[in-house]
């Protein structure tokens, strides 16, 4: 890992759906160890920026580089290594419906280290639940818990392997006050540990308290970027 280069760089990135540009010539850099909020109105392309940056979607034009290497040109092993060092918290939780909650958390661990024993996995899952105050039976399926609880489990799945880069897509959506408090505390913990955090959010308190850098998207284009103070006039319209 070369700490002098930004971990993720977009260069002229465009993405089209039905000949319409969902992302239009986006060029940006996410700084190492910083928290960045990608904001904008609904449909402006926030989630797409996160998914492209995480290598889950490939752009039609332009280059996205992870640690200086184009994600699109990565071979399988470097791509898997990149994924092992990043975590993605999905807007709609996206838990694996046909797996138990315990399996949802065990699989990321097994993908990085297949030698984990069943008891080690069980302990890790229990510790993980306890860290956000979740009192759930790990053998339950995602369909049997609330959306807010699913979001918390999704966050745990994204973070159980202690990633260096954390993508949070609308992290506080569907969350009640207590859940939000628990989640913010965990995000802060990651930020304090030096993780790079990239989030798409509408939550003004999260933007104000948690971010070092803000990027504003308008109709798929990067219309502004800077600190909270720099983009404050725009925030009043968007958040």
């Amino acid at each position: 890992m070369n700490i002098t280069i930004p971990p993720i760089v977009f260069n002229g990135v465009s993405l089209y759906f039905n000949n319409r540009a969902a992302l239009d010539d986006v060029t940006l850099e996410f700084q190492r160890g910083k928290s960045t909020a990608v904001i904008g109105s609904s449909g402006s392309g926030k989630s797409l920026v996160l998914k492209c940056a995480a290598g889950l979607i490939f752009p039609d034009e332009g280059i996205i580089a992870y640690e200086g290497t184009s994600i699109a040109s990565m071979k399988e092993t470097p791509y898997q290594k990149m994924q092992a060092r990043t975590g993605f918290h999905f807007q709609d939780a996206a838990l694996w419906a046909n797996k138990s909650l315990g399996e949802n958390l065990s699989l990321p661990l097994l993908s990085t280290n297949p030698d984990y024993t069943d008891s080690e996995l069980k302990n890790k899952v229990e510790e993980s639940f306890a860290s956000v105050g979740l009192q759930l039976n790990p053998s339950l399926r995602p369909a049997s818990i609330s959306m807010g609880q699913r979001k918390l489990v999704s966050f745990l799945r994204a973070t159980i392997s202690r990633p260096d880069i954390l993508f949070l897509d609308d992290p506080l959506g569907f969350m009640d006050r207590e859940g939000s408090r628990q989640l913010i505390a965990k995000i802060e913990e990651f930020r304090d540990d030096g993780a790079t955090i990239i989030m798409a959010t509408h939550d003004s308190s999260l933007i104000k308290t948690m971010t070092d850098q803000i990027m504003v998207l308008t109709h798929g284009r990067l219309s502004a970027s800077g600190s909270y103070q720099d983009v404050l006039p725009l925030l009043r319209e968007l958040v």
Binding site: L56, A94, L107
Partner: protein, 263 residues
Amino acid sequence: MVETIGLQVRQSIKQISYAAGFQLFLFRETFNFLSRRRIGLKVLIMQILFTGVEALSIISLLSLGIGAVIIIQGAQLPDFLLGDQLYRILIIVITRELGPLLTAFVIIARSGSAITTELGNMVVSHEMEAYLSVGIHPVSQLGAPRLIGVSLSMVLLTMYSNVFGLLGSLTVSSIISGVRLTDQMAALFSNFHMVDIIASVAKSFIFGLIIAATSVYYGFSVNGAVTEVPVKTIRSIGMSIVLCIIADGIIILITVLLGATNL
């Protein structure tokens, strides 16, 4: 006009290339699956359970019925129930043709459609992206065990179907002709050739690969809308049937060329 045709040809070539690339990747991941089976082992077991075990009752009923019907219909023909040719006809019709094909149709209807629907819904609910995000390729996690599970189940179910088909035939034949069932079974076994079993196993294995590969491909080809799922499922079923029948024709042609079809 020329431009439209050109665009369509280009689009078709692109689609065929993508499908071919996908299948190559799926088969490669299936070989790799054996080395990292811990992660996908449960998916494999569940697939064998759903495709193989849960289909036993319907396959039993269907095979017994078809076997019985062949004899009842055949009995209308003069001298049908006489001589060893009856056993050879039964063996060829049931083990080489109806067994593998009927089993394939049942598997397409039950498991092929279920695989496409399940994978399509997983695309829609971003579960595939979730696999990628934790460093697991969804094709290796979800496609490979299904390919192995369906192919394995297809071979075992076809053998099971053959047994029930022949049993149905012989039972009805015994009732009509008055010859004891045990005598009929002894005569049947003496007419069995190794090539019958090889042809049945080969066909069922190839049909299994076709059904699994087609269903997985169409499941993964859903782009993100829920309304695409039933459309892809219908296409998957139609394509699986067509490909199985084409493969059946090719296998018959090969066995004819090798001289392995003589009564």
